[in-house]
């Protein structure tokens, strides 16, 4: 059996060539993983609003069509907002990629097995919803190879499931003040406070 990837290493490798990409992360471990990869004004960390990460990404990708947008989420959040796959599949943003760090578990709440841990295939669901590319990655080499294309425009939305280990890691906590994060993010785009 293949050893599952370390989520921190996978996230860091994936974002190694992000350029000026904008990144939204979902509550829990994806926000810690993004923060651990390097805090940045172009990161927007969610601490709640479960189910929203990919859709915040869609709104952002629509507002900023010239920028690559990456929504970094977990299997639990993606499962809660599976309708987002249909909404994004119809919207067809070529600058939005959804990355699911899939450990097959609800990691924040006691490591209960999630639906992906019981066989649900999010990449197949994304393809069925009209994503132009969707696949599951299990090797670090595949993740490293994805770093450059992830920051480049595509013909439509893409989804990548990164199969990562369910293991406890030290938390890497971004700021919790969403107004600060919002204003910092908007300032990085040259936008004012209001």
């Amino acid at each position: 059996m293949v050893k599952a990837m370390n989520r921190r290493e996978a996230t860091a490798a994936l974002l190694a060539a992000r350029g000026d990409a904008l990144v939204v992360s979902g509550l829990g471990s994806p926000s810690y993983d993004l923060h651990a990869a390097g805090d940045d004004a172009r990161n927007f960390y969610l601490w709640g609003a479960m189910g929203g990460a990919a859709l915040v990404g869609l709104g952002l990708a629509t507002a900023q069509p010239g920028r690559a947008v990456i929504a970094l989420t977990g299997d639990g959040e993606m499962l809660m907002g599976m309708g987002a796959l249909a909404t994004i599949g119809v919207a067809k943003p070529g600058n939005l990629s959804v990355v699911v760090l899939d450990n097959g578990h609800f990691g924040e709440t006691g490591m209960q097995a999630s639906h992906t841990g019981r066989g649900v295939d999010l990449a197949a669901a994304a393809l069925a919803c009209g994503f132009v590319e969707a696949r599951t990655l299990t090797e670090m080499e595949e993740v490293r190879a994805l770093a450059a294309p992830l920051a480049a425009p595509a013909a439509g939305p893409r989804l990548f499931v990164l199969r990562v280990a369910a293991e406890p890691l030290p938390r890497s906590l971004p700021a919790r003040d969403a107004v600060f994060l919002k204003n910092r993010f908007r300032a990085s785009l040259g936008l004012g406070v209001n």
Binding site: G48, G51, A53, V56, L58, L60, T62, A63, V90
Partner: protein
Amino acid sequence: MDDGRAGWPETVFAALKAADVRHMSYVPDAGHAALITRMSADPEIATHVLTTEEEGVAIAAGAWLGGVRSVILMQSSGVGNCVNMLSLPAMTRAPLLMLVTMRGEWAEFNPWQAPMSRATQTVLEAMGVRVLRADAPEDAAEAVAAAATMAYEADGQVAVLFGQRLLGRKTW
């Protein structure tokens, strides 16, 4: 049928244009049909059809992060779907403008619309959303213009409820 109601969606559209709204997402309602058609035909407005209303709350927050003003169209039943996602505009203090067509409160034939209809304003206010109402066609655009100012210029979270009496009896 021209009973004076027919023109209100056009006045609401003009109010949204005047507020520089460039994005609209929706779960359809018959009461919103004319406005959905009008906004979808405008090349300056991006639109997204949603599977559930809470998606629109998240999309609107993302649009604002990227500098674009968004509005969400839904029916009162959809407000219930939004509850936890309303944490997002509350915590980010991001503009939120929801236009909600009411069911279950005037000449309603479907009793299943009643529970969420009764709860709509309460639920919104419980999550910190300011509620304005328009019950007459001539009030609709003014209410939307006022709500747009509170949302986009004062970073408020605002819903405008279009009363079912304004919308007229549903015929089917």
